[in-house]
Symmetry: C2
Subunit: 162 residues, 2 copies
Amino acid sequence: MSVMYKKILYPTDFSETAEIALKHVKAFKTLKAEEVILLHVIDEREIKKRDIFSLLLGVAGLNKSVEEFENELKNKLTEEAKNKMENIKKELEDVGFKVKDIIVVGIPHEEIVKIAEDEGVDIIIMGSHGKTNLKEILLGSVTENVIKKSNKPVLVVKRKNS
Amino acid sequence: MSVMYKKILYPTDFSETAEIALKHVKAFKTLKAEEVILLHVIDEREIKKRDIFSLLLGVAGLNKSVEEFENELKNKLTEEAKNKMENIKKELEDVGFKVKDIIVVGIPHEEIVKIAEDEGVDIIIMGSHGKTNLKEILLGSVTENVIKKSNKPVLVVKRKNS
C-alpha cells in the first residue's frame, strides 16, 4: 500500500519556525497534496490567569469581573489570529491548496493530536519550536508531545541555525 | 526560497517501523527526490561488551582473545546488514532512486546526524521507534536525539497502532 499525502495538518503559532514549516507545506503541493487544515490554538493557560488578572483589575481600578476580562482577552487573541490566518490561507490557496482554517482555545498539543485524528490527515507538518521556546531547548514541548501522542507521521522542521 | 527534497537520508535498523518509513521514502519520489542515502549503523555498544565476552569465552573454553571475538561479531553483523541493505537498495532503485548505501559502526544517532550533515541531505525520514524500544516508550531515543541534534527536517513515521 503506497503512501499519499492528500491532507496536511499545519498547526501554526505564527512563529519564525512556523513560517519555515509553511515552506515545507507548500513543497508538498507537488506530492498531489490537496488540502491543508490550517490550525491555530490559543493556549487556554494564557487566558486563564485568574490570580494575576484579579490583581491587575484591582490595581487598575477597573470595574470588571475576571470573567469579562478573560472573555475580552480571548476575543482579542482570536481577532488577531484571524487576521494572520487570512494571509496564510491566501498564500496556500495561491499554490492550489484547498484550505480549512480552524482557531480553537485549548492545550496546544492536545488540540493538534485531536484535530489530526478528527480530520483524518495524512501528515502533520510543524516547527520544532514555538514562539515561547528558549534558545537552549532542543525540541519544543508542543512538538515533542505531538510526536509522542499522535499516530500520524510528523515532519518536524527545525528553526533557523539550530 | 522554495523547498526541494532532492536528497533523503533513510537510516534503518531493519525494524518494522523502519519498513513503514521506507514507504514514505518511496512517496517522496513524486516530489522529484533523486537520491537516497541508505544508512545502517551497527551500534558499537553491541560489540564492545568486553566483560561479558571474556566471561563467555572462558566458559566456552574458546582460545580466542576478546578483540578477535569482537572483530568476528562485527564482521558477522556487517555481513547480515549487507544482505538486508541489498534488498532495500533494489526496492528504492526500482522506483527510480539513485541509492548510496552506507554501513558504519558507531553510536546510531551521532552517526545519523553526522552523515546527514556530511551528505548535505534535504530531509531525514525515519521510524519513531527502533527494534529495541519497549512498547510504552512513546519516542525512541535514537529518533528523539536526531530531531534534537540535527538541523535537518525530520519526518518521523510512527510504528503501527501507536
